[in-house]
Every structure is written in structure tokens, then in C-alpha cells.
Subunit: 436 residues, 2 copies
């Protein structure tokens, strides 16, 4: 029986065309992160499951993780996310590192998911984190990274928006203004997390079940109706949360200085899970009606190193998956045409005797940083052009009997249709024409 | 109990410094492969174990592979090598692709090994393959890729050599000249594969056990003593293997035209396992006495697609691991200094009021493709220079009260110690100084 040629369920084969798209996505991520001075890191594919248990919720550990016992009886998992690895690595070096630490990575991650649009089992995720930044400026910088990343893909505020909240506000509303207990706060977080996906009736039923008094319930519904930064700040002030209001106001002013205003929108339902985040939290949403999905999420956290018994180190980070990003760029027609590769020159010979000179020429051109494809057998004139097109070649040469005996060759520019006769003894001129 | 901060056994954490080295290795691989027109591809991290069983030996499947059953009862493995994935992908597209197909990849692979020098559980491997090349020129091109790759790292024939053989020769010697049966041939391959690692006595004992006649044994020992291409060709001619001799001679002449002569050495013990390869086989060895190890191996194969019931498609490929490559470059002192990152400019402010102008300036500089680090808090003059050094920055600015009120700033070149006063209204000049 012949073997199956398809990739394992939920994973992708990246043929050269698909790989070029991935390389393009990653190149912009790398360039943007490095333009802010972030440094690239990576960790192992496998981690001990203990690490994920310490950091993540039970659902992920129990159902979504690729875990197994290795031949040495270690219980390990293929990384489903990068943050635990990042925490482990930062815990090793943070004490002797000068702050802030700015790190980024683009790891492949695996989760056992039911494959569907935007969800696969193996995906790549851009992770960008800053540790030990003073005050709230690190939060602003991570938002800047996100915005400048999308701008580098050609997107602007007509294509996406950043829905933002502050966990300090949520905590103040629930714990101080509504006087909710820890257990009630926990349930409120869960409700808020789901608020956009359920009906008003379902929401009210869930709130009722918590057993808050009417005043607190009213505060909760008022909170859920906030939709601008001005409203949110006024709401906090009205409810005597002056410190929180001032801090948030100062943060919003900072984002304005960083030219982020057009991209930011207050959203009380953004909390990003129950644990982990302690400061701002945000999600980037596609504005296209056919693709209303979160593309990127992140926020500020204080206790990442706690599981290693290390002192708190404030961090801010974001994560952005390759699948949703590609869908976003496609739906807005922002992906460049990467159908064909891009090469400098195709060298062909029309007589066997041309092979020698062709091999020599190719070697010199490669040493001069050119991308050179050698036609490895005698090619008829007619066959050269379709190959040149498919390989995205800018120049071609043909080496027939005449060229071999005269030692001169025609260099054809396929775009301008110009043709130069160049001596094979004068490769400097040859290279100059190609690089011009 | 605090969690373990160390990576899983046999894997590596790539902190920014180590990641820069890895990025450097990969950048040269990518650049070299692309200079020959090879196109990048990638496949999934997991494949069904069936695929590896069909291609590989039992040792790999049974003891070295990271395999497990997924939640959907599929028996899968983390890829231990790339070739089976490559075969699966090529089998999908080879019929409608114009030949030759030139593909490369740098996947991470996992094998359950006992960690030791040069051997880890997770490593990366540069894979470069050409399919459907005419005659023997594809074999020459893959050797050229290998040599130009090492040259791009700064190495030459004083640092490494390519030990080369041809499976057509080995088959002719064993099957025709020695008249060995299939089973005897199989055992001879195993002996040759081990020849360099065992004593002469052990070798002779193993040969004796095969039960060949004395003439055949003598041919075998003569074969094992061949050490130059000239000798090998003469040996074949003397034993009436004229066709094989002529074909090998033509191949060696081709390698000479491709400037490979200084790097190649005939080695009768290179066979690279029992199955798979059908044409040339080679291993690249470090010449350094402290590091006599194979760095890279490859060869020509004809039947890669057989497991998919596809027609034969001749291929030639090579594989090169990141760990042995790094050891090689280190032992020869060929690694560049990547201790610190490389950034263009560090923008600092000495008064809180400088933040606004700094954020604005940073944004413009980043849009102009510069790598910009912003000091996120008031930095004393003395603190600026150590940070600049650690971050590999070429220029710095200081923004104090005077600069803020005059709107003029000092741009310091840390290398030349030159200093330019530039107006913040004339960023073109500012950028010109940095890019000069």
C-alpha cells in the first residue's frame, strides 16, 4: 500500500510558494522588533509538563497539549505557547542583566485543536516582551511595536483597531466599587471574558447567580457599557477611584504622544483570562466585516517569575499568530505577490561546449552576491524564457557556438528588453549591468 | 518547590547571544543556497510514524525516535530527519514541476540520544536537494553548494576535505568483481561502513566470516586501500569495469571544471548506510586534529519516491547539522564576534520633559530603517555609555534642558568620537549622518 502524501492533520506543508509568504511575514516581524532594539531568542521544542502546569490553566494541560513520556520517564510536552519557556529563560539571567530586557521570538507551537479556519495544530507565533521597563512606558512601547508591525505590512487604522483595558480598572470596579468577594470576582471575570459571545439574557442570568446586591449589579452593567477612554476615566472619578483614574489618564496621554490614538479603543470586556495579566490588556481586531477576529493579544504582567521563586519583574508582551495574520493580510489584499521566487540571472548554454564557461561564470557571479541559476543541460532558445519567468529571473544569457568562440556574450534584461554584449574577460562590466 | 530553570535534557536555550550565532549560521546557509537558485521549503514538526518506517532503518524507529500516540489514536513522531518529509512533499508536486527542482530547508529535528560533544537531542539541519537534474551535473552542483557554503564561513581546503565515493563503484566491486551474493554484499557494506572504526584484526575476522573465496577477499582488501581518484579508476579498468571507470572519470573531470579538485579525496569506506543512496556519496571532514569528525554528508539517490508508488526521480542532497558546524567554526576560530547585538542609535533624555521629543524622533528614525533604542527613563550621563556599548550602538543622543529649549541635539558617533549638532527640524541631515 502506498503511503499517504498529505501532512499530519492540522499541520501544513510549506512548498516554496507558501514558504515565501511565511518568510515575508517573519522578515517584517524581525525587522520591526529589531527597529526597537529587541533581541531574538529561542528555546527548546520540548519542555517538562510541570512548567506548563505551573503557568497555565487546566484546559490547556488536559486537552490541548501534545504531551508524552520520554524514554527516560520524563513527562514532556511540545511547547503550546512560548511564555513559560520565556519565563524559565528570563529567570536564569534577569539578575545580572541590565534593564529593560527586550526580547522577541517566532517559535512554532503545537496545540491539539479541531482544525478550522484560523486554527491549526502547528502554528508560529511572534512573541515580543519587555522586562523591567520603568513606569508605564513599556506598555506604550509594546503597543507601538504592534502598530508599527501592522504598518510595515501596509495596514493602518482603517484595517485594524486595538481594544484596550486595564486590569487595575477591572479590579477596582469589582473589588472596591462592587465590593465583590474573591470568589465573586473570579466569576465576574469569567462573565466579562464571555460577554461579547453570549446574549444579554444569558449574561443577566449569570450575573444574577453570583448574588451581588442591586447597587453592585448596576455598577457592573454601567461598567460594561463604557466604550471610550473619556467615559472610563469619568466613571472611575465619579466612583471615587481618583488614583486609578489619574494613572489611566496618564497612560492614555502617553499613548497619544506615541501617535497611537487613532488605533486605540476602550473595551471593558477585554480581560484576557483570569490570571497572569496585572496591567493593561489588549487585543487587536480586524475591522474587515468578513474577518472580525482577534489577531494579536497581550498585556502587562508582574508575577511571571513567581513559579521559580524569583522576585517580581514587571513585563509587557504580545503574541501574534501566523495563520490569523495571513488571513488578515489576504482579506485586505495586503500580501505582495510571491508566486515566483526572485533571482538575478539564468545562465544557459546551447552547445555542450558551453558548460565550462557557464560554470566558471556562475561561480564568479555568486561570489558577487548574485542569485544565479545554471541551466544544467543544453537548452533550446524557446525553452529558456518560460524557465526564466517561473524562476523570477531578471537577466539571461545564452551561450552558443558563436559566444564560445568570441568569448563575448549577450546579457538580456528581461524587464527592459535591453541587451548588452559583454566580454567574458570583463566580468566587472557584466556584474555592473546586473546590479544597476 | 521551585521549578527547574534548566532546559529539557539535550536541548538548548538560545539566549540572544547564542541566537545571534544561530542566526549567523542560518543566514549563510540561506544566502548560499539562494545564490544557486535553491528555494526554501518547510514541513510539519510531526509526521506519522509509518513514513519513517518506510524510509529508515529499524534502529532509528525503535530507539532514537520521539514517537507517541496522539489524542486521535494516530501514531506520530517528531521529525528526526527531513528527508521523509521532503519525499512526501516532492511526491505531491513533482509531476507538474519543471525540473530540476532545487529546494533547501533548515528544520529543527529531534532524536533521543545520549547528550555528548556534538550530539544533542534537538538540533537544526541544513538540507539542500536537487531533483531531476540531467546526467551527473546535479551531483557536482551539490558539492559546489557544500564548498561555497564553507567558503562563505571563511573556511578553505586547509580546514576541511570532502571524502567521496560512488555507490556504482562499490556495487561493481562487490557484485561483479567479487561475485558476492546479495546477502554477502549486505554484510560487506556493513563492514566497509565500520572499517575506519575497527582494528585490522577485527576487520579480517568479519571478512573471513562472510565466506568469500581468496580471490574475492584480495579484491576487497585492494579496494579498501584505494586512496586517490586515479587509483580507483585504474583499479576499475584493471578489473574490466570500463564503463564504470569512464563514468566516474567523466564525473571527476566535471568536478575539476567546477573548481572542486582541492577539496575532494577518494575514500572507499564512504558508503553512507545500506539503502537509499545509488550514486555518489560523500562526507565532509574537519581537518583539525582536535575535531576529526564528519560535518556534513550526502549523495545521489534514485528511489526516494518509491514509497509513494511514484516513478523514480533522481535526486542529490546534503545534510549539515548546526552543532558540528559551530564546533568546526569555533575550533578554527572562524566565528565572528557576536557577543553584543548591533544597533544604530540610543536616544536618551536627561529631563522628564525630553520624553516627548525622544518618542517622536525614535518613530521617524525607525521609519527610516534604523534600529533605535529608547532609554525609557531619565538616564544620567555616566549611565548612557555602558548601555550603548552593551547594545552595540553606533550613535547616541542626550536630551537635556538645553536641547529641549533649542530644539537642537548633539549626535555622537561612538566609533569616531565625532559630534554633530543637528536640528530636530532637519531630520534628513540627522538620518544622513547615521547612515553615512
Amino acid at each position: 500500500m502506498a503511503l499517504n502524501k498529505q501532512p499530519y492533520r492540522g499541520t501544513r506543508d510549506f512548498f516554496p510558494k507558501e514558504k515565501r509568504v511565511r518568510d515575508y511575514l517573519f522578515a517584517i516581524m524581525t525587522k520591526t522588533a529589531e527597529s526597537f532594539g529587541y533581541e531574538s531568542y529561542d528555546g527548546p521544542l520540548l519542555e517538562e509538563v510541570e512548567l506548563y502546569k505551573a503557568k497555565s490553566g487546566e484546559e490547556l494541560i488536559n486537552e490541548q497539549i501534545y504531551s508524552f513520556t520520554d524514554r527516560g520517564e520524563r513527562f514532556v510536552a511540545i511547547r503550546p505557547e512560548m511564555t513559560p519557556t520565556l519565563a524559565r529563560m528570563v529567570a536564569q539571567v534577569h539578575r545580572e542583566s541590565s534593564k529593560p530586557l527586550r526580547w522577541f521570538s517566532i517559535p512554532n507551537l503545537m496545540r491539539y485543536e479541531k482544525p478550522q479556519r484560523g486554527r491549526v495544530r502547528e502554528h508560529w507565533q511572534f512573541n515580543c516582551d519587555i522586562f523591567g521597563s520603568p513606569g508605564r512606558i513599556g506598555e506604550v512601547e509594546i503597543l507601538q511595536v504592534a502598530v508599527e508591525l501592522f504598518q510595515a505590512y501596509g495596514a493602518n487604522h482603517t484595517h485594524f483597531e486595538i481594544l484596550l483595558n486595564d486590569r487595575a480598572i477591572v479590579d477596582a470596579v469589582f473589588k472596591i466599587m462592587m465590593k465583590a468577594s474573591d470568589e465573586q470576582t473570579h466569576r465576574l471575570y469569567k462573565i466579562v471574558d464571555k460577554a461579547k459571545k453570549i446574549t444579554n439574557e444569558a449574561l443577566q442570568k449569570m450575573v444574577k447567580e453570583i448574588g451581588l446586591n442591586t447597587d453592585s449589579e448596576n455598577i457592573f452593567y454601567s461598567y460594561l457599557h463604557l466604550s471610550t477612554f473619556v467615559d472610563a476615566i469619568a466613571f472611575l472619578e465619579k466612583n471615587n477611584q481618583i488614583d486609578i483614574a489619574n494613572q489611566f489618564n496618564a497612560f492614555i496621554e502617553l499613548t497619544s504622544k506615541a501617535n497611537l490614538t487613532d488605533y486605540l479603543k476602550y473595551d471593558p470586556t477585554i480581560v484576557r483570562g483570569l490570571d497572569y495579566y496585572t496591567g493593561i490588556v489588549f487585543e487587536i481586531f480586524d475591522k474587515h466585516p468578513d474577518n472580525r477576529r482577534a489577531l494579536c493579544g497581550g498585556g502587562a504582567y508582574a508575577n511571571l517569575l513567581q513559579i521559580f521563586n524569583e522576585d517580581p519583574l514587571p513585563g509587557v508582551g504580545l503574541g501574534l499568530g501566523d495563520v490569523t495574520l495571513k488571513d488578515f493580510l489576504e482579506v485586505h489584499n495586503l500580501l505582495p505577490n510571491l508566486e515566483n521566487p526572485s533571482n538575478d540571472i539564468l545562465l544557459t548554454f546551447q552547445e555542450d561546449a558551453g558548460l565550462d564557461a557557464t560554470l566558471k561564470l556562475a561561480q564568479v557571479l555568486r561570489k558577487n552576491d548574485l542569485k544565479v541559476i545554471v541551466g544544467l543541460e543544453v537548452l533550446k532558445f524557446k525553452k529558456v524564457f518560460p524557465i526564466a519567468e517561473k524562476k523570477g529571473v531578471k537577466f539571461i544569457t545564452l551561450m552558443g557556438n558563436e559566444e564560445i568562440s568570441s568569448n563575448k556574450i549577450q546579457l538580456k534584461n528581461l524587464l527592459t528588453k535591453e541587451q548588452h554584449e559583454v566580454s567574458l574577460d570583463d566580468l566587472e562590466t557584466f556584474i555592473k549591468f546586473i546590479k544597476a
